[in-house]
Symmetry: C2
Subunit: 335 residues, 2 copies
DNA sequence: TGACGTGATGTAAGCGCTTACGACGACGAA
DNA sequence: TTCGTCGTCGTAAGCGCTTACATCACGTCA
């Protein structure tokens, strides 16, 4: 039975009722081997009876560890962040840590929130796209290990990301070499995020290797809302383009749908590719050619690395890059 | 400049350096109005100089509040949980609380983890599908407010969910009345989760209202892996069925794709419907008829309610049900 | 001029844990 | 018998905050 009279039970109530000292109660819970079986059982019975759960804050204060990691993401749309969180949570849980998530989208005091978060966790991972000042990052880094995702700008801070440049180059070359495309457009804003920048860099590299002049990127956010605009832009363009390399699947799906709705033959007249390999990519017609990233593994590896950092603070920052995989479907022109 | 010599700064270091007592430092940070402007500035300067961030555990211990909520979900696949988390995080953040997520999938000591979590948060929301013992739920409830999602089984605990029975009935009736379907199958395991049970109940109700005999459900999980099996089952069945009501979109998309691949005319020969309105539902051909749930709002409302409970513990448990919206596309037979 | 608010700050008592250290009894060896 | 040794457990000192209360320096007002 759970007692619900008045205040919540503390280690003192348990000790009292079991006729032992609080030290013994603590030992029963943390190092059962150090206490005699008979007293252990007695204490555990009381713990069960009172429904005692040790207070995490008090424990954290005593052991000087929050047993929690912070994960700061801009939002949670699409499978990318969700998979990342899933992988990270798993990796953190393996080390007995829980993860507290902070979603910055729609909040205007991100810097304050991040600082506050820094007081409640042992380590923090920051998505590159998160709008946080470098001053805040510095302050937080001085206090605890920080890992950054999908942003290799700052060499001084350790980062994780998936490969972008070479995959984008490979994808672009596929369109040029295999499908004979000559007038490609890149959709996305390279200045918006580091990974978009890298994907565009790969796009450019493939053009240069083929002796073609790369077009300027067509600016767009990651949202599908931008699709219609981009699609009509392409159509009004008189369809000078014969291929569209989009910064992510959401954009690609939206563009492709509008193109098809406008009677444009995809991929006959124009190829469309995305990035991320979302679920919809394999259900649409034509199937969307895209790049698949090992996001879950990424999350897990970051968590594992974080745990290592927490044990051994002094190791040089490294830049980790995980490989991606080109997924050829029909939207590029493949059968 | 951030000082990184030795230990992290505490409220004592700040007080020392600013020549005030720790009480004043605390006041500067929490109730700036109560301290003279000149000392306030002096203290803030030191705070900045040392890069001081108050320790959350110590604060929690002193104020007896963790300023955090626990959110326990089975996993994070698909948009449902992600949206839920997004909405919840927003609602919690408005009250100054952060949210720590616990994903139970793949963990074998869920009960222990949930109990431990209960020691680090002020309130907890549990997804109905989470595999946690009722004993644990009782223990946690004795300690802090608990809200349950998508599971109205336990009347004693307050729950939130989206409407299922009537929407499912409406959807099924649409297939029967508008599209003249006479032999429908329900795909999903009602015993698997409470919401599936309710959706099947609506399916049955529509049949009874139309004087038809409802078929037994075709068991399936929420995963798309089950799609092929179900599809071939339907085909081997000689296509006695002329419609499939699936427990969610993932299942529906998978079934539909297999059906189409087998040369079956959807929706001509057989209707397919889902539940959730995932992104893919509006990109596939034919567009997937489904039910859209206000998941984000759900999350937010749960968070708001939790905040209310945290302030006023003694209010009777209520059962909240949010309305859903039928989204007619082409997979049911509509134009 | 002295009693008295008033505002600003310091003092100190917790909050509920963990753990180093010491006390104590039982037990085996000398 | 006496003296380690060892297993078991209690004592008490923190961990870094918040906040009730005490204190103190100033006007203010009669």
């Amino acid at each position: 039975m759970v007692e619900s009279t008045g205040r919540r039970p503390t280690i003192y109530s348990v000790a009292d009722r079991a006729g032992v000292s609080i030290a013994t109660v603590s030992r029963v819970l943390r190092r059962p081997g150090e206490v005699r079986a008979s007293t252990r059982d007695r204490v555990l019975a009381v713990v069960e009876e009172l429904g005692y759960v040790p207070d995490g804050a008090a424990r954290s204060l005593a052991v000087k560890s929050h047993e929690a990691h912070g994960l700061v993401l801009p939002e949670l749309r699409g499978p990318y962040y969700a998979d990342l969180l899933t992988g990270y949570e798993q990796g953190a849980a393996e080390g007995g840590a829980s993860v507290v998530v902070l979603l910055t989208h729609g909040k205007d005091d991100v810097d304050l929130l991040v600082r506050r978060l820094a007081g409640r966790v042992d380590g923090m991972v920051l998505m590159g796209a998160v709008p946080v000042s470098s001053g805040t990052v510095a302050a937080v880094r001085a206090k605890l290990p920080v890992l950054v995702l999908a942003d290799r700008h700052q060499v001084s801070v350790e980062s994780f990301s998936t490969e972008n440049v070479r995959s984008a180059e490979q994808l672009t070359r596929h369109l040029i070499d295999v499908h004979g495309r000559r007038s490609l457009r890149f959709v996305g804003s390279p200045e918006f995020a580091d990974d978009v920048r890298e994907r565009y860099a790969g796009f450019v590299a493939a053009h240069e290797a083929a002796g073609l002049a790369p077009a300027e990127p067509v600016p767009a956010t990651f949202r599908e809302d931008d699709g219609p605009r981009v699609a009509s832009l392409l159509v009004e363009d008189g369809l000078g383009a014969d291929g569209v390399v989009c910064a992510n699947d959401e954009l690609a799906l939206s563009v492709m749908q509008r193109l098809l709705a406008a009677g444009v033959d995809v991929p006959g007249r124009i190829s469309v590719t995305g990035w991320d390999d979302v679920m919809a990519a394999r259900y649409v017609t034509p199937g969307l050619t895209t790049v698949s990233q090992p996001v879950r593994e990424l999350g897990r590896e970051v968590a594992v690395r974080m745990r290592a950092l927490l044990e051994d603070r002094h190791s040089a920052p490294e830049q980790h890059v995980l490989p991606t995989r080109l997924v050829l479907r029909q939207s590029c022109g493949c059968a």
